[in-house]
């Protein structure tokens, strides 16, 4: 446990130090890379809440990532074109204010997670995997065929959204916004994982019958965890779309779901900080291998295969030792 805490602190320090050094030496590209890593980490932490703590293998988390992205895109699109979001039953304008956008992204994605979870959690195991994947595809095709917000081409935003008192177009300032949000999310997830809710959730993953016998309903536990998980990934989606000032159906595609899962696995399933390490490693691989070869996904696939077959704990399993065995 001690080693894991040290590793957590070191990880967060490096993640902060790299962009700060890049800022001093004036290399904005590195800052953007670090921002991507931080945002991917938030998405991974979200999935890990369902996957690592609740044992729900969701292959559809791109839905929440994409919905967060579209929440940002649609609100900002109406603000920049001075059109109303809707006229009936009351007039509603778009907004460029980040905190409001985040809240909307969280609300929309947690509602979607509630709906998808309510249906998918009626089943378990391999059915659950296939169904979450299928619902992901449903949102993807809907986004492509719905022409109002760009359809297949996606939506571009001219200027990054605003945060009071900051210049968000400055890479380091936007990085700090994302970094603070990651820290808050990690703090919240750590607290939730160690709360009575988190304990019962992990207990339910191991033995549903016993949890039921002490008066807890596993279905409701899972559904709550799934909604929280979706909300966190939705927040990451809004930040990612803001980083690129662009949102498209690609964010909803099944490859995105797979990538979010890769962040979790590379880092270590079920560790609060695991996805942070995984996302940082993914960005590092993408950058170094991507420089070596146009076909870097072959190497990524080989590494992933190696991790699954021979190093199941991911980076955290290698560096911090095996998790204290619960199951």
């Amino acid at each position: 446990m001690k080693r894991e805490s040290l590793l957590n602190a070191a990880l967060m320090a490096v993640l902060l130090a790299v962009p700060l050094v890049a800022w001093v030496s004036d290399e904005p590209f590195l800052i953007t890379l670090a921002t991507r890593a931080v945002i991917f980490a938030i998405a991974g932490v979200g999935l890990n809440f369902a996957l690592g703590f609740g044992g729900m293998v969701s292959l559809g988390h791109a839905v929440f990532f994409g919905l967060g992205g579209y929440a940002m895109g649609i609100l900002a699109y109406h603000a920049q074109t001075y059109t109303t979001l809707m006229d009936w039953p009351f007039a509603l304008d778009g907004t460029k204010m980040m905190p409001i956008i985040w809240l909307v992204a969280i609300a929309v994605s947690s509602l979607a997670a509630l709906a998808i979870g309510a249906l998918s959690l009626r089943t378990t195991g391999v059915y659950f995997i296939m169904i979450t994947l299928a619902f992901g595809q449903m949102f993807y095709y809907f986004a492509i065929s719905w022409p109002a917000y760009g359809g297949e081409d996606g939506l571009s935003i001219y200027v990054r959204n605003e945060f009071p008192g900051l210049n968000t177009m400055d890479p380091i300032q936007y990085f700090m916004v994302c970094y603070v949000l990651l820290s808050l999310v990690l703090f919240g997830v750590y607290r939730a994982a160690h709360s009575s809710f988190g304990l019962v959730l992990r207990a339910a993953r191991q033995n549903e019958d016993r949890v039921q016998a002490v008066g807890q309903a596993p279905y409701r536990l899972y559904l709550t965890a799934f909604a929280i998980s979706g909300a966190i990934t939705g927040l990451a989606g809004a930040l990612f779309a803001d980083l690129n000032r662009f949102v498209s159906p690609t964010m909803l595609s099944w490859q995105t779901s797979g990538e979010i899962m890769i962040f979790v696995i590379l880092g270590g399933v079920g560790r609060v900080f695991g996805p942070v390490a995984g996302a940082a490693l993914f960005i590092l691989l993408e950058h170094t291998l991507g420089g070596l070869s146009e076909f870097w996904h072959i190497y990524l696939g080989a590494i992933l295969l190696g991790v699954v077959l021979f190093a199941r704990g991911g980076l955290y399993g290698l560096l911090a030792g095996r998790e204290v065995a619960h199951d």
Partner: protein, 305 residues
């Protein structure tokens, strides 16, 4: 709308459905016998299509291309079964998903590296192009009609094999109790390899047959794979009969939804709105079908509870 169009679209839906069945049958067999969820099944579909396109370009023979697609995908299936998949049988579903996702990355990028990013073209042979007159004056594409017949023949062959042959008995026994048939002296790892190769071959054949009416390109397998998952969820995992009925339901819903829904919306919306609302809803229709089935039968239509 004329009823001729309706019949034509129903046939299109049936054609799509039987091709989905070729994918779904392999997936559901592999899950039923080995308990494995295989995301790389879409890659085997793609390998079949690329092998067919390459052989057709070299020899000019469509039949040779089909044989090549079967052989290439079955061989690829045996290779990945022996090197990777075999290690996954007693792992949990998460490991299976991740390892087979890794295989997708390797196969897709490998194919892009070998063949480039541009789509290849596989033409249907001259003796199968053109149209054919059906009763009541309906003109229909000969190739698509052949696809329906081939798909139904393969389905019948599969049902016969599983019900009547020795290997079929072993497959059914394997679904019920793996350890027991191992104890009875059946070479279980050979049986697993055979089942995997059979599923792979069917996927590759579907890839080649569909490749002749769509373009052959990297990433063509995964949308079909996910539709095959929907088919299996609807039909019930492990059930070949469920896969056939689920596939035809999905094929018909997808094809007819795309045609009928925009027209339905046109009854009470402006034309432009009706087209966009109708096509958006049509793109979601099979998933709504899946959600509906799940509400009433969480284990699918023919799943064992």
């Amino acid at each position: 709308m004329s009823w001729i169009l309706l019949v034509e679209q129903t046939l299109n839906g049936l054609q799509f459905g039987v091709m989905l069945f070729l994918m779904a049958a392999g997936l559901t067999l592999i899950f039923g016998v080995m308990g494995l969820i295989n995301l790389a099944h879409g890659s085997l579909y793609m390998i079949g299509a690329f092998a067919a396109a390459a052989v057709a370009a070299a020899t000019g023979s469509f039949l040779m291309a089909l044989v090549a697609s079967l052989a290439a995908s079955a061989v690829a299936g045996v290779l990945i079964e022996a090197t990777v998949i075999r290690r996954l049988y007693d792992r949990d579903h998460l490991d299976q998903v991740l390892a087979t996702f890794a295989l997708i990355l390797i196969f897709s990028e490998g194919t892009r590296w070998a063949f480039g990013s541009f789509p290849l073209f596989l033409d249907k042979p001259e003796w199968l192009s053109g149209t054919v007159m059906l009763p009541f004056g309906i003109e229909y594409s000969l190739y698509r009609l052949v696809l329906i017949v081939v798909g139904l023949l393969v389905a019948a062959g599969l049902f016969w094999m599983i019900a009547k042959t020795r290997i079929g008995i072993r497959i059914r026994a394997g679904e019920n109790d793996r350890e027991m048939i191992g104890a009875l002296g059946v070479d279980i790892s050979l049986l697993y390899t055979l089942v995997f190769a059979l599923g792979a071959g069917l996927a590759g054949l579907a890839g080649a047959l569909i490749g002749a009416i769509q373009s052959v390109q990297v990433g063509m397998g995964e949308p079909v794979l996910i539709l095959a998952f929907v088919v299996i969820v609807i039909g019930g995992i492990g059930s070949i009969k469920g896969a056939l009925i689920g596939a035809i339901l999905v094929g018909l819903t997808d094809t007819l939804g795309g045609v009928l829904l925009p027209r339905l919306f046109a009854l009470f919306l402006e034309p432009s709105q009706a087209t966009s609302a109708g096509s958006s809803l049509a793109s979601m229709s099979i998933y709504i079908l899946m959600a509906g089935v799940l509400l009433f039968r969480p284990k699918g239509l023919f799943g064992s509870a």
